[in-house]
Structures are given as C-alpha cells and as structure tokens.
C-alpha cells in the first residue's frame, strides 16, 4: 500500500507544478484584454492550439490531484474511524478521477481532435 510520505511527495510536487502552469495560463490570458480572452471564438481557438490544450490538461490533472488530496487530509481530521477513513479515501479518489475524466473529455471535444 502507498505510504503517506509518498502521497505527500505527490501533493507537494503537484502543488508547486500547478503554480507554474497556472502562472503560464494567467500570462496567456493577459496577452490580450481580459474581456477578449473570454470571447467564444478566442476560447475555441485556444482549445485548437494543441500545446495550450496540453497546458490546460496538465492544470486539470495537477489541481485535481492536489485539491482532492487536500480535501482528503481535511476530512481525515474530522473523524477517526476506519469506515470514515476508507470512505473519504475512496470518495476523493473517485471524485478526482471523475473530474479529470470529465475535464479531459471537454478539452478533447473543444479541441476538435
């Protein structure tokens, strides 16, 4: 079974990596006026740009892993019994996979691949 230190290594690495990719994402938003960047055609054009779509996918994966593990840590502190701990672990894992799957589907559909 995976040890807590290994989970926390993943947690820290995804957190730091997410900082960089989100910074790139924000900078990309600022190359044009913010209102224009949210324009429908611009958004679709972004998705059609494969490197940018990959950047969005990496943001999705990194933040989903980091965020849902953070939620697991918070929920583990609320109650201490085996049923709760297993439930929290399975729930956060399932939620993380669902969010990544749904987000990936959106990125793939919007990019027209």
């Amino acid at each position: 079974m995976i040890r807590e230190s290994q989970i926390m290594k993943i947690h820290y690495v995804t957190g730091i990596a997410a900082l960089f990719v989100v910074a790139v994402h924000i900078i990309m938003r600022l190359i044009m006026p913010f209102n224009m960047s949210l324009n429908y055609t611009n958004v679709i054009a972004n998705y059609h740009n494969i490197p940018y779509a990959l950047l969005l996918e990496s943001i999705l994966i990194l933040i989903a892993i980091h965020g849902f593990n953070g939620l697991r840590i918070i929920l583990l502190e609320l109650r201490q019994n085996t049923f709760w701990e297993r439930g929290v672990t399975f729930f956060t894992l399932a939620a993380m996979i669902s969010v990544i799957a749904y987000g990936t589907r959106t990125i793939i559909l919007a990019s027209g691949l």
């Binding site: 040890r3 807590e4 230190s5 926390m8 290594k9 820290y12 840590i73 583990l76 502190e77 609320l78 201490q80 701990e85």
Partner: protein, 275 residues
C-alpha cells in the same frame, strides 16, 4: 561603599507590600452523579513578587478550600506534573510567577486536549500511549545487556549530541500536546511531544532503527498532519522546539535530510578496513 550605604533601601531592594489577586479556579468532577456542570470558584490570595501560581493554589488549598484537585510534585519545573491553562495559555503552575501575568485576576483551568478527571487534574494515559508508540529508547544490538561480550561503549562527538540534545530536555508535561490544534481535532495524531521524541531517537547516532521509527510516524494520522502552527514550541517550558523536530522528521521522510547515520557507518567501515 560603606555598610551604612549598603543598608539604604534602593528601589530594587525595597520590600513591596503584598499584592492581592483573585484566583479563579475551574471546578468540576466528571465522576459526580448529579452532572451539574463546571463552575469557577474565586479566591482572594495575597502574593509577593516571587509567588508562583502553584504557591497561590497551594495556599488556597491549605487555608481556604482543601477540596481543590491539583497535581504537582517537584515545584521546580522538572517533573512536569502541574501543567494547566493559566489565563488561557498552557503553562507549568510552578514555573509561572503571578507578577509576570497581567491583571489582578488569574484563571486556572485544566489542560485542553486531555480527558478531564477533576478540577485541574487531567488524564495523561492517551498522551503516554502515544509516547510509548514511538519506542522512546535506543535500539542497538551492542546495548543488549544479556550478551556481555557484545557490550561496548558508544562514542559520540559533541556535534552528534547537539543534533538531539534539546529534544532530550522534554519533561513530558503535556503543554505542547494541550496547545496543539491538530490534537484538538485528530485524536489519533501522536502530538508534538511524541513526534519530537521520535526525531530525538532518529537523530541519535547510537540508535539503529531509524527505518522502524520513520514507519511509525509515516502514517495517515502521523507526522504529515501537523499544521505547523508552532504553538507547541511557544508553550514549552524547557525550550524544546517540537515543531522543528516535526519538520526535520518530514525532511527525513522526504529524503531531503542527509542520512548522517549511514554516512557515519560508512566512514566507520572504511576506517576499519584501512586498519
């Protein structure tokens, strides 16, 4: 300076009149049948500059209300028995002078995060269970007394001792455990005292079961659940920094720290092979 001059009262030598304070003491007994809840009893106590909270409480117990439940022993911050919340902060009653507290009313309450027994007395069994879980003793085949042939002295340089010395000053008073916000919500969290003791033995070059100890603290409710509030270090009466111990232990688990024990073992081996 002549003897006469020496006798003249200076500002420092002048004997100040006793100051009267109000001592509010938490009163409750979990074993009583009527379950009427807790109350605070107030006592007037005359104090001097050097009077400690424990002195005041014992004065009250001797002359005003003998039924106050309080645990104490050494009266010199060595045994760690008289831990309690004084004006809301976990402190040792024998180590806290009334003159250093602000205000004329001093509130004494039992330590938080410990099961309450009576008045100012709390149950330390869970705290000591966490402490024992960390195996707070040196693991080394060479220290096995049953095999006299194997027994040998352990050499440690002053630098080696410095790595764990401050953590060995812990008197197990439970103040850090009481101040810890994680312990307040997570009962399985060993607490700053136990984790810093684990670090104390991990950092000790005489001990050779680092892996075993790291496995104990590398748990779902182990070292990773510390929020690094730092309140454990700020309340410690012996100057121990449990928060530092926890962070150093995390460094070991993340392989950020140098494995000094392994380096020392390799150096020893190479020295022996040279001989």
């Amino acid at each position: 300076m002549s003897l006469e001059e020496n006798k003249k009262p200076t500002e420092q030598n002048e004997k100040k009149p006793p100051k009267e304070i109000l001592l509010r003491v938490f009163r409750d007994n979990r074993q009583k049948e009527d379950n009427s809840g807790h109350r605070y009893d107030t006592f007037k106590v005359s104090t001097q500059r050097w009077t400690t909270v424990l002195d005041a409480l014992l004065h009250v117990k001797s002359y005003q209300d003998s039924s106050i439940g309080i645990r104490y022993s050494c009266r010199m911050a060595s045994c760690g028995s008289c831990g309690m919340k004084i004006n809301g902060i976990p402190r040792l009653a024998c180590y806290t002078k009334i003159s250093e507290l602000q205000g004329d009313t001093i509130t004494c309450e039992p330590l938080a995060n410990f099961p309450h027994i009576r008045d100012l007395v709390t149950d330390f069994s869970q705290f000591f269970t966490h402490h024992k879980e960390m195996q707070p003793y040196i693991h080394n085949d060479m220290s096995e007394i049953s095999d006299m042939k194997k027994l040998s002295e352990f050499k440690q340089s002053p630098e080696d001792v410095d790595k764990y010395l401050q953590f060995s000053y812990c008197i197990k008073c439970g103040l850090c455990y009481s101040a810890c916000p994680t312990v307040a919500t997570d009962t399985k969290f060993p607490g700053p005292q136990a984790i810093s003791q684990a670090y104390r033995y991990v950092a000790d070059t005489r001990d050779n079961s680092t892996k075993q100890r790291l496995k104990i603290v590398d748990d779902r409710h182990g070292v990773w659940r510390c929020h690094f509030a730092g309140s454990c270090s700020s309340v410690c009466p012996k100057g121990v920094d449990p928060a530092l111990g926890i962070q150093l232990l995390r460094g070991h688990l993340l392989s950020f720290s140098k494995n000094e024990k392994k380096i020392a073992q390799l150096q020893d081996r190479s020295k022996n092979s040279e001989i």
